[in-house]
Symmetry: C7
Subunit: 289 residues, 7 copies
């Protein structure tokens, strides 16, 4: 990182040597050539990647989710590769890059440890793809962030939230992944009825309603189940219903169930629980009870 | 990682040297051969693994939970092994892989530390299987996530939650494992009665109900126990019942107990506790009391 | 980790060399022999361990909690030892294990650091046993998990919770251990009485009840103590009682005390505190006060 | 770091040697020359950077967000580069900088590890720019801080919050980035109506209002959707509306929707939910219920 | 860690060589001798340690808290020392212990780093004793755990909580120590009076009571101080009293103060604060106010 | 760190050798000379630093915030520099400082790693100053602490809180900096009105008041904006106003706005929201509803 | 750490060699001599340290807070120094201390890393004293613990809390220090008045009271300021007063202000805010509103 001249003369001499007009022009020309080459190679590479996937699809070898993920990944790898070669070429004009990377002195320690999270990002990224943890288009929760995967890159993964924002997560910090698109989802609906109502009757009404639900709503995969009394409060009895739906349709389905059952219970005159309080009258003259 | 030519000529020369038409074609052919070979070996390997387990089962040497776990694990190891050989073969066209892995310069430090969590994953994965911490099909809690184990791999474990989503957990981050399927579960049911009720009488009613529970519900392993007064509030007395059930049947059983006891106490006219408040009248003209 | 042939020929040559029919058969035979030997040695070892403890017990040298712990530990060490030898033997067919373990290149760093938590587990495990922090059968809290210890292994400790699930904790992550079985427990019972009651009188009633408690309940080790006024609220005075009991009997005893004192105070007509509120009347026409 | 003379004579001798009048003057002159040179080079460099971007824009090659980001970045890199050379030149008068950076003794370990977060900052900074995670002007959330990006530097990123303060974040600590400006935003509006109202009627009123919203407000990208019953409480039914808007216009739009629907529901006489409580009368003489 | 024979023959040869009957018997005999010797040395050592402290006490050189701490520590160091020699002796039969400890290959890294927390425990333990942070018998808070110290060992510290359980804390994790037994404690008592009461009068009553407290209760070290109005709420004025007591007697003393002052204020007719609420009447026909 | 003599003779010999009367006197004299020299150099240095800034200011080259920061920093660097030379000189009498700093044995590892946070402090401190993150006199939030910067040193930064206390923060732990003095601040004022009020009318009243605010209060930079309905509750409608003010004047300005608008709304008879509750009468004889 | 003999003979031979009667006696004698010498040197050193500070004070060179801190520190350094030499001397009888400290094998890594927090403690301790972050006697908050500093040692700092307990904090874990004794403190008092009161009038009353406060209470440094309306609730208007006091007198002063203003507002008949609630009557026969 440090040129081997005497540093007290650094600016006047060594940097002066480097910054002659001749060198600056030669470096500028080289820089432009390198950037142009990088730009062209990147374009050509992307062209062939798309061509390949088109041919593959025409050849009937299509795996929808996997192909989209792979195509984006290959383009991503290509741009990193070209960018990496370009940066090294440019930096090489100023520093002894080879020497720094091979040595293990102070600079080596700092660079080696500083770069370890970069290496971890790439290794983890490789395994996410190899193990097919999720594909582009899946609805996932990564760490504390939920949304639809829009890109799985070599170093970062991009997820778009329900409310539109893009979350960019380095692969190395992806520790716990929850994939909501791999299996059917389950809607959980809790229904509160007043404590005084006949539970058996309420259960009968709800069970009757649930029997033909798979026919009425196509998102429902199998007949929902009324699990029973989830909580027993002083003013309310909470009944729980679970309903298996197509992946990620459970939120919409639980809204539908809530509305239907609310209307149903109103029709049968089942009361909803209210807060209740018993008021006691205070005996006159006794201020401390 | 860096080719030993002068980098200022990197794109024009060394990369140029590598990217002659001849090399690109030869590399492409090799790539296809390698990928095809990997695909075929993977298929053959999986075929033999399944064959083996079929023979084992026919031979009467079946251990249900263990066998399923082992079969999935062997397939997993096979695919990692083939994938590993394939990646190394491909990377070798670009980098001096052997040199990097043997050396201990800057790149070595970065790769070595970046890969340490990968090694930890594999070591921990090995011990999970060797120590039989859990099998495929068990209901477990890993860190903060609960669900049914669907795969125990060399590097990751997959768990499916009650509500359908798949959680993918690197083995190295599995610190505390709770296995719910290894033993009987215990349902804990708290019953609140009004403060004024006779506790002895309530206890008698509940105890009578509990005596023949093992006969009525097959999930109940032994006669539940009424522990006694858990909390003593101003308006309620909370009684706690514990009930040992078959593994993972405690949630359903506690719903049943809540319903049964609610109906039972209603029949005996035991009141449920209500919020109570004593209202005091304010003397006229005294605004600060 | 990487065979020293040219990797561009890896699959066609080196792997080909290794995967000749002859090698595969020879390896398979060896594998079966090794696994069988491991199985037999494990069985014989366990047989002798049990024999030894039987002889020890017959010889009158029994230390109940310690023996059970030790026996399980020895079986555990044996299985690790046999497993370790087996794994090394199998791996040796594929990699230069000796070279990897001796070298300190990239792979060495990754393995060394990845394995450090394994070493830490074993060291901590050794000290848990040597320092007799807890035995099999003790009721403990480890980190945030409470339960009865079922096994103390070289690498992991197993704890069974009250509600039946098994918690598996790597020894290296055991930082703070709380052992509830080593000493007598203390039940803490808080009794709320209405603010207007005579505290001296209530204290007298409770103290009288407490005097002969050691005779009535055998779990009570010495006469409980009424500490005094713990909190002084607007509507309640909280009195605290502490009661030393046999280890882990404090939960059941505090339930008993709560029930007894509730009935006692009801008999003496001591009122329980109620929420109280003073309602003020709003002067007509003044909407902003 | 330590001059190789005997330290017991350090002040009297070695420092004395260094602090002769001649040396101090020579150092002061050199210092002024170096600082002046650094100042001039910095100015010239910035002049050329701005010139270049002006030419680029005139040449019709403008990418608005990207150009502003790049220009600020180049100026930032220039000032770091000049500052770095200057500091090294000055320090070189006191310490054997080359020797320290090359060696790996105690000082080397301390400097190498102390500087690793600096290296990490620069590496992460490079990737933020290369991967176009966000540009100057974007509204982002970085870790726990939200605001508009004002500068992306080599080592730090500056974000200005809504309320005016500037947040300065080292690039290495940027773990999770959320970019709100990359896509349309979604306004989520929850409407509570009294439990007794007819849900179907309320839904019809709201749906009618929503149909022509894209025409009335230009921020609305497509017709909002009334999702249905989000929550079902004892006194209220909550309906949820989602509305896709232009990036970062969702907050203003949700305020507008809330106001419009409030007036709309008032016109149709739909009641808003109130807290309700049922009061029970206490039987005389029974103080414990 | 790995014997230098060819591992493919490991079980059949090298292990076979080691596990000849002769070796097993010789090892068993040696094992018994070593264990017996360790047992005897341990006993003798403890005998001399106790003897020494008895002589020291008889010689009038007693420092109560320090001696108990030191005696337990010496016994603890002795048992570690004997245990350490024993373990090394046994392990030496299987591994090349000397070689592992001297080398710095993969195994060395793993062991070195795995053992660093052990070294940290011992260093911290040494300083706890040397700096006399606390003695056996002191009431302390270590990290989040409070109790009486029962043992300060070389590696762990044992603390017994008020409720009887034993907490075992590795010395290296002891970061913040709070020692309650080193100085007098301070009881803090907050007294709430109704907002309408005359503060000056209440302060006079309490101050009069506090003046002769040191005479009535021997735990009180100096006359308590009435600090003044701590909080000013709508319905209550909170007055704070602080009272310096003997170490760890503040809890009992604050209970006493609460009871005394409660009775005192009742006698003087000072009202306790009640929740107050102003009810407004709703104008007829106006449902939206 | 350890003198190379035999340690068993350490006290009697080597220390004895060192602690001859002659050595002690010579060391004491040297110590006094070194301390005096350090004191004098420090004074002279500070004198010249202040002189320089006086000349600079007279020469018309003043940058107020930057100069104060720089002057304090230079004094700080001077005192560290002198202190460092002094300490090394003193320590050199006891230890082979040069040898320790050059070597990389056990002591080297401990010192190198122990000192890494010191190096990090200095590096971060340098960048805070170089990047002009904040100046002496700015109001900032550093990590969780807010206040006015009073000193930016090489190793620590001092911040004085609003309530007078000084916070001392090592530069290396400064991760996220928020600078409130760099830009105008924004006051956010939320106004609650009763649900039944006409929103359009309230908005008109507030908007009229806001139009000429820049003229009335000089802290207000531009006409505040009434954003609209922020929340829609059952009993209240919350309107939000934002008001850009001079840096750090937003707190005082929002107090002024709250007071003005409160008086304004009272004048126009706009009601403030009150909690409302609907009371239901309980049918006689039905205790369970 | 391990003697170079064959360990299988460790107990019988090498330990035997060491534990001959002759060695044990010689070691015991040496031990006693070393301990006595350490005790005497420690006493003499402390005597001279106190002497020196007495002379310094008599010589008129007193800096109160600094001198007490320095004296305690020097005694602390002396005892560490003597203790260190003593321990090394004793350990040297058992281990090859020099060899361990110089080598860098497994034991070296473990010791080096285990000791790094010790080195960090000493470095941080040095800077706390050098930078005069706080002195003995100051009231500080260190991390989460508040109290008066009683000792600043080389490795630990001791702080005594208000309630009497001693907190012992290793210097290396001192990250954020807040010093309350360096500057004047500020008392913040919030006064709630009923919503209907005239704010201008209340402000006038309070402002009149505040004008001559500096004369009445000597703790008040300058006339307190009434900032204005802090919060605007439905039933209360909160006014904030700030009052600069002498260091650490703000708590007592805010109690005084609260009491004075409470009496003042009562005299002027300013009402305190009460909770208010509007009750609505339920139309008959409509159970769902």
């Amino acid at each position: 990182m440090i040129q081997r001249e005497d540093f007290s003369n650094a600016l006047s001499k060594s940097v002066g040597d480097k910054f002659t007009l001749e060198n600056v022009i030669s470096f500028t020309v080289e820089l432009i050539v390198v950037l142009l080459l990088a730009f062209i190679i990147n374009r050509i590479g992307k062209f062939f990647i798309r061509k390949f996937f088109n041919i593959k699809i025409k050849g009937g070898l299509q795996h929808e989710r996997r192909d989209l993920t792979l195509q984006k990944l290959l383009e991503n790898i290509l741009s990193y590769f070209v960018g990496f070669i370009t940066i090294i070429t440019i930096l090489n004009n100023f520093f002894d890059v080879k020497g720094i990377l091979a040595g293990a002195g102070v600079v080596g320690i700092a660079v080696g440890f500083g770069a370890q999270s970069l290496v971890k990002d790439i290794i983890t990224g490789f395994f996410i793809i190899f193990e097919e943890q999720f594909f582009v288009g899946d609805y996932v929760r990564i760490n504390t962030f939920e949304g639809t995967v829009t890109q799985i890159g070599l170093r970062i993964t991009k997820v778009r939230a329900f409310s539109g924002e893009i979350q960019i997560i380095p692969n190395g910090t992806i520790i716990e992944v929850t994939n909501f698109s791999a299996h059917n989802s389950v809607a959980v609906v809790d229904i509160s009825v007043a404590y005084g109502e006949n539970i058996e009757k309420v259960e009968a009404i709800i069970n009757e309603y649930l029997t033909d639900l798979t026919e009425r709503y196509e998102d429902v995969v199998k007949t929902p189940e009324l699990l029973g009394v989830q909580t027993l409060g002083p003013t309310e009895v909470v009944l729980r219903i679970i309903c298996e739906t197509l992946p990620m349709r459970h939120l919409q389905m639980s809204r539908q169930l809530r509305k239907d059952i609310k209307i149903l219970l109103d029709e049968h005159g089942i009361a909803t629980p209210l807060s209740k309080m018993m008021l006691l009258s205070q005996p006159v003259g006794n201020t401390n009870v």
